[in-house]
């Protein structure tokens, strides 16, 4: 159980704002902080990890108080057991992949944890490469593996997949899922990507100007509950074509592209790049076996 009750004055894009949060996160949950840039999502991660100090409040992790302004407790980042994946990966450029992982080990930790992680993240082939020779997706896998080496109590992910293209992003979501199932770590993800959030997380806190605007399961937050679709996918509008009677909207769902027919008025509400929900109600899907 993680208890977070913090307040901090921040310099946002609209001037000064107060970040005020009160969250209880169950152990083993995968939650998301969602919201536009500059609402203080990254600052929340920095305060949990001890890299930034709240003005006042309390941070408790599994019965242990990491920060409390009343009792003047403030653990240094070194003493908190946190795995942090930074937006820019923050790999040590002068160390190989293996050295990066080994550096994260605690003093008396043996090599098992690093070799297990190398296997889970499929890094064995890359272990002697320097970060500068890796692709974005490979760097991300190294950063994730490195964050897990010291067996943290919380995993913090700061927009880990934002800089990657969609195919690799989808693959890495698979790794994140695998890691979460394997280690059952309490995980806090900062993300803008609705697809990613629905795919990965249990619970979403939507922030605005430092406050929680909405909270709930991803479905409850992003998908209108009045619709009962049998099939529903979140996609991105790639193209809108006006035909004589109807419009054809091209939507990317994960790595697939589909065309959806809509009325002109409906199409007029859409712009390219919009996140949309593609759903189909009350129909009987067909299944074809393609591989035994």
């Amino acid at each position: 159980m993680i208890k977070l009750d913090i307040s901090k004055e921040l310099q946002g894009p609209m001037g000064t704002m107060t970040l005020r949060l009160n969250l209880n996160i169950e152990s083993g949950q995968f939650i998301t902080l969602y919201g536009p840039s500059g609402v203080g999502k990254t600052s929340v991660l920095r305060m949990i990890s001890g890299l930034m100090q709240p003005d006042f409040g309390q941070i408790c992790v599994e019965e242990q108080t990491w920060f409390d302004t009343k009792t003047k407790v403030n653990f240094s980042p070194q003493k908190r057991k946190v795995g942090y994946v930074f937006q820019d990966y923050a790999l040590f450029p002068h160390m190989t992949v293996l050295e990066n992982l080994n550096f994260a080990k605690a003093k008396n930790q043996n090599n098992d944890s690093t070799s297990d992680l190398m296997e889970i993240m499929e890094l064995e082939q890359l272990q002697n490469r320097k970060p500068s020779t890796l692709s974005g997706g490979q760097k991300q896998r190294v950063a994730l593996a490195r964050a897990l080496v010291q067996k943290p109590k919380i995993l913090l992910l700061d927009e880990p997949l934002a800089a990657l293209d969609s195919a690799i992003r989808h693959k890495l979501q698979g790794y994140l899922k695998k890691v979460h199932q394997e280690f059952k770590l309490t995980t806090i993800l900062v993300s803008h990507d609705v697809g990613e959030i629905v795919n990965l997380t249990d619970y979403v806190y939507q922030l605005e100007e430092g406050k929680i605007l909405k909270q709930g399961t991803p479905e409850a937050i992003f998908i209108d509950q009045s619709l009962s679709g049998k099939f529903k996918f979140i996609g991105e509008v790639l193209k809108i074509q006006q035909e004589e009677i109807i419009s054809v909207v091209t939507v990317r769902i994960h790595t697939d592209v589909v065309k959806v027919v809509v009325q002109h008025e409906e199409a007029s509400n859409l712009t390219i790049g919009d996140k949309v929900l593609v759903l189909s109600k009350a129909f009987n899907p067909l299944l074809y076996k393609i591989e035994a």
Partner: protein, 223 residues
């Protein structure tokens, strides 16, 4: 030929550089991290030797370390150290005189490392000291090399400060640059030429090696 002034010059430069590594890196680390309002003042003080005439520095050292003075007298009586006209005095003056040449490259190197890299190390439970030694310094090897070599070369080229505080005592404070001046005054152009040529050749080689290494001409050897 008398090699003594040349050897003395390189001994002085070596001692100065070693002390500067020990002092310059912590100063650069502090300057690159501090949010103190006094930072501009300290930055100015570190950079002063770049613009002040060496004689100004030498003059104040002479005043401060003179046994006629409270501080110089205290050093002499309590610690038995005489810094005026002695080799140890030369080292202290050279350290201060060459300080910016060590601090500036290291400071800009450290400031250039992305914040998240050092923070990643802290989150992994590594202390500031371990992070400096294993994460930050190894990443700024070119800046360190520049700092070390420039401090060494700048100390080799010292004249004014040395003359003011060290004088011209053979074997003790008579370094090559002063020997050259001395020989020219005595119209011994051959001896002056000898010292000059050696200094010229050595400093050329030192600086050339820095540019070659930092320009990555020896790939795989350094980076």
């Amino acid at each position: 030929m008398n090699w003594e002034p040349l050897l003395l010059t390189f001994k002085l430069a070596l001692f100065t550089t070693v002390i500067l590594i020990l002092i310059g890196i912590p100063v650069a680390y502090w300057l690159s991290n501090t949010k103190s309002r006094l930072k501009p003042i300290f930055e100015t003080l570190v950079s002063m030797p770049l613009v002040l005439p060496p004689t100004v520095l030498g003059f104040y050292f002479l005043m401060a370390f003179s046994p006629n003075n409270i501080f110089g007298n205290w050093l002499d009586e309590w610690l038995g150290i005489k810094l005026v006209f002695s080799f140890s005095g030369l080292i202290i003056a050279s350290v201060i005189y060459s300080l910016p040449f060590m601090v500036h490259p290291v400071q800009s190197g450290l400031s250039g490392i992305s914040r998240s890299i050092t923070e990643a190390s802290f989150v992994m439970g590594k202390s500031k000291w371990e992070t400096l030694l294993k994460v930050q310094l190894p990443q700024i090897k070119p800046a360190l090399l520049t700092g070390i070599v420039l401090s060494f070369a700048h100390t080799v080229g010292e004249f004014g400060v040395v003359l003011m505080i060290g004088g011209n005592i053979p074997g003790k404070t008579k370094v090559a640059s002063i020997a050259i001046y001395d020989e020219v005054e005595a119209l011994n152009y051959d001896a002056a030429n000898f010292y000059s040529l050696v200094l010229f050749a050595i400093t050329f080689c030192i600086l050339l090696s820095v540019y070659l290494v930092n320009g990555n001409y020896f790939k795989g050897f350094w980076k």
